[in-house]
């Protein structure tokens, strides 16, 4: 494998010597052309990590290197202007006293003035804002401002761009569309990017790989599929979407769970906590199935599929099914696991953690 474009090793950042570090021993690599997400609840240290990469914050310990060249290391701190790293801020930070064109041309400093302007125009064309050159940024819509910010960051042709919650200021409809456009643009330019977000859906759909961060540390790094389907910790399982937590007795690759005997994704012994996503469970009619008996307590119909809440031994579970068979609240059903359950690491004793269906993940964690 080639040298990664960005390498972060054991990065820690401490603002107050008395308090625990805001970022604690964070390590990850970003490959050339890769879009990497740092996902975590607010206050988890993801933005501080980004600011250490940009050079706005001095790392307390650890190294940051770009193409193998150290930017932050013991005794080394390259200033933000000395790093070929661009950043798009959450509020875009467009210069209100400059026109759209002057904003985009701001970072282009090589070559004669005419060539600089040409570069800026090209960048604006690229984000689909040709013709907006003479506008003032405050007269553009949120989506347009975001694209100007992106053009401004791309115009000096940085080696890497950083995006801080890039889509959080857009309304829901515009968000999905812009996300796709930006991803296609970055991919077509072969740009490497790191972005931080608290929105799990955004991280899963926008990134090639992501790191899930909590209280200054990274819990897991992987592709969206890996992280979603094989969460390493309880936190990751809960933060990436709703799931069912089951306290189980494991013996090798199988375990006895409240929903019957299921396969495990890895070897385990004794009392463990396992996670099963709602879409990995199925409901069957009790007459034809030997699955665990449960009672339907609620149903929400979403058109293409249905989410059932079922009750079994006093706990509620979520089951995400297609809509070929309808059950009513009060019906007795059989629950059958479709996939192996995922064994979770947990710092607290498994007996103390919640079980049953988890609530909707929130940015506050």
């Amino acid at each position: 494998m080639d040298t990664p474009i960005l390498s972060v090793q054991d990065l820690s950042k401490r603002f107050d010597p008395e308090a625990p570090p805001v970022v604690h021993d964070v390590s990850f690599d970003v490959k050339d052309g890769e879009i990497f997400a740092i996902l975590g609840p607010s206050g988890c240290g993801k933005t501080t990590t980004l600011r250490c990469i940009a050079g706005f914050e001095r790392a307390t310990t650890g190294t940051v290197s770009l193409r193998g060249e150290p930017l932050s290391a013991p005794g080394v701190h390259v200033s933000p202007e000395g790093r070929t790293i661009g950043i798009v801020f959450q509020n875009y930070a467009l210069f209100p006293h400059l026109t759209v064109l002057d904003n985009v041309a701001f970072g282009v400093e090589e070559g004669p003035a005419a060539a600089q302007e040409e570069r800026a125009r090209e960048a604006l064309e690229m984000v689909g804002l040709g013709g907006f050159e003479d506008r003032q940024p405050q007269h553009l819509s949120g989506g347009q401002q975001q694209r100007v910010a992106l053009a401004r960051t791309l115009a000096p042709e940085p080696d890497l761009i950083l995006l801080d919650e890039p889509f959080s200021n857009l309304d829901a409809l515009l968000r999905q569309e812009t996300r796709q456009e930006v991803r296609e643009l970055l991919k077509s330019k072969g740009m490497s990017a790191v972005f931080v977000t608290h929105n799990q859906e955004e991280a899963l759909s926008f990134a090639d790989r992501l790191a899930v961060m909590r209280s200054g540390q990274i819990d897991q790094i992987g592709t969206p599929e890996e992280v979603y389907y094989r969460p390493r910790t309880l936190f990751v399982a809960q933060f990436l979407g709703r799931t069912n937590l089951l306290l189980s007795q494991a013996a090798g690759t199988e375990a006895d769970t409240p929903l019957g005997r299921v396969g495990l994704n890895r070897q385990a012994q004794g009392t463990v906590l396992v996670s099963m996503r709602p879409e990995h469970l199925a409901l069957e009619t009790p007459e034809t199935s030997n699955g665990t008996r449960a009672t339907v307590v609620g149903r929400s119909f979403k058109g293409h599929d249905i989410t059932y809440r079922v009750c079994c031994h006093g706990n509620e579970y979520l089951v995400h099914t297609d809509n070929r068979h309808l059950y009513e609240p009060g019906d007795t059903v059989a629950v059958r696991p479709l996939e192996p359950a995922v064994v979770l690491e947990s710092q607290s004793s498994p007996a103390k953690v919640p079980r049953g269906a988890t609530p909707e993940p929130t940015p506050e964690g």
Partner: protein, 533 residues
């Protein structure tokens, strides 16, 4: 952000550290020097100074004047604020403007107007043949100071009245209280923070006032300081008086902080505040108008009328154009550099306060405000003692006067720069850094263009304030330096009302410009749309 980070930021940036050092040093060193000099004196001498009868009388007079003016301004400001916010009286906007205008005109012009109106040779006697005793002493000082400082209270109370939730009053009424009970038990307690804040400004103003008490010949610390300085310059006694005045100021600041602690009230409910206005009716409306016009007349019309009358009188004998020109030039050449200096000093102070908020940077800002709160005569005296002792080549130079103006009026400059800085969020500078600019380069290309307007407003404020300044000028001006303020004051002091008129009129014109800048700022102070996203 903690202290060590702020210190780091300062260490690496001399262009921030230097002005901050000038501000902190400029304000604190003379005051500390004054303290040290006084401490060198024989303790017995100092003690005799404090307990001698004259000092006790001065203290009584100073406190008495402060209390009198506080009562006077409350009587003027509370009804004015109520009338302009809680009634539907037509013409409330004009009344509001009339309530703010006196702020711009210095107290000594008010005192001059009162002196020139009353007495056997006053305007009233000459035009209407109405001889009223010449206003002077306690009554004259209270009247002149109340009429010129009540806007401080008026503005604070207006904001408080507008922020009151009418639902509270309505609840009290529904619980069976009559209007008067509602006012005393519900409205008044909520006005307390505003009364204290406005009262503090007025008390500081009274303690610092020199023009009014000297023209009205009322014996306060400031007046005694002036006598000491003008007649027999007893340095120890003058320093002692200045220290007592400083202690009184400090006592008021502490008292205010104590009283205000935990007394800030907030609306507990969300939702838009309805404004509670009552339609003016019959007799009530008449009384309202009569009062408002009385206040406006006494503070505004009287001044303009008197100055106009004596101006005409003076014009008959030929206007002193040459004197006026010299005075204007002297005022400008001290005020203009002071304005630029104050704005330049306020930029790093405000920048630190906004970008590196910590107890340390708040301290720097407080010191900047201390220069404003320090009674100007005491501050000037401290500067004289300090310059004579430490930097004699600066004594009685224009440079020292300019520095004194800048340090004293810096508080006026910090505000506009501060609010301009809030419109230039730190992300803009960081974006410029990530696009290849150095720290100073990022500041100059992004932040500076955005705060330029704020800096201009700061300069305008300081320039116009310095043009009207009297006590600092009086003590620190180089020999032969005659500003507009000095001319107005010295002619009025000798009861040469006609000769004072052209200078007073020019000062009133400068004051009108000040109000103009103030109103312009109110209109442009709104943030631009891009910052609200």
């Amino acid at each position: 952000m903690n202290t060590s980070r702020a210190l780091d930021a300062i260490r690496s940036r001399w262009y921030v550290a230097l002005p901050v050092a000038v501000v902190v040093g400029g304000v604190l060193i003379p005051l500390v020097y004054l303290l040290l000099r006084a401490a060198q004196a024989d303790p017995q001498t100092l003690w005799d100074l404090v307990v001698r009868g004259r000092t006790v009388r001065l203290l009584g007079n100073t406190v008495g004047l402060t209390v009198g003016v506080l009562v006077g301004t409350s009587l003027l400001a509370v009804p004015m604020a109520w009338l302009t916010t809680r009634t539907a009286l037509p013409g409330r906007k004009v009344l509001t403007l009339l309530g703010v205008l006196p702020l711009a005109v210095p107290g000594y012009v008010m005192a001059y107007a009162l002196l020139a109106t009353t007495g056997p040779y006053g305007t009233l006697a000459q035009t209407l043949g109405l001889v009223v005793p010449r206003l002077s002493g306690y009554t004259g000082a209270v009247l002149a100071l109340s009429l010129s400082t009540f806007p401080y209270l008026f503005l604070n109370l207006r904001t408080a009245f507008l922020g009151l939730d009418p639902a509270l009053e309505e609840s009290a009424q529904a619980l069976g209280h009559n209007r008067w009970q509602v006012f005393v038990r519900i409205v008044l307690p909520q006005l307390r923070p505003a009364l204290l804040a406005g009262g503090l400004l007025i008390a500081l103003h009274v303690l610092g006032d020199f023009g009014v008490v000297s023209l009205m010949r009322y014996d306060t610390f400031s007046y005694a300081l002036y006598i000491q300085y003008a007649a027999s310059y007893d340095r120890i006694y003058a320093a002692g008086l200045a220290l007592l005045l400083l202690m009184l100021t400090a006592a008021i600041l502490v008292l205010e902080a104590r009283l205000l602690k935990g007394r800030l009230f907030h609306r507990t409910s969300g939702g838009p505040a309805r404004s509670a206005t009552r339609p003016g009716r019959g007799a009530g409306r008449g009384v309202g108008y009569a009062f408002a016009l009385g206040v406006a007349g006494a503070s505004g019309v009287l001044r303009a009328g008197t100055v106009g009358y004596w101006m005409a009188d003076s014009a008959a004998t030929g206007l002193p154009w040459a004197g006026l020109g010299t005075a204007l030039w002297d005022s400008v050449r001290a005020s203009a550099p002071a304005a630029v200096l104050a704005a330049l000093l306020s930029l790093p102070v405000a920048y630190l306060g906004v970008r590196h908020a910590s107890s340390w940077t708040r301290g720097v800002e407080r010191i900047a405000y201390l220069g404003y709160a320090t009674p100007p005569l005491a501050f000037a005296l401290a500067l004289i003692v300090f310059s004579l002792g430490a930097v004699p080549f600066l004594y009685q130079t224009l440079a020292l006067l300019v520095l004194a103006y800048a340090l004293h009026f810096m508080a006026e400059a910090v505000g506009p720069v501060r609010s301009a800085l809030y419109q230039a969020p730190p992300h803009l500078e960081e974006a410029a850094r990530s696009l290849g600019r150095s720290p100073l380069g990022a500041f100059m290309s992004v932040t500076f263009p955005l705060v330029r307007r704020g800096l201009l407003v700061s300069m305008a404020f300081v320039f116009l304030s310095a043009m009207k300044e009297l006590p600092l000028t009086f003590l620190l001006a180089p020999v032969g330096f005659e500003t507009l303020a000095l001319n107005t004051w010295s002619y009025a002091e000798e009861a040469l009302f006609g000769q004072a008129a052209p200078y007073a009129l020019t000062i009133m014109f400068v004051s009108a410009l000040f109000v103009g800048v103030l109103l312009l700022r109110e209109q442009t102070a709104r943030p631009s749309p891009s910052e609200t996203t």
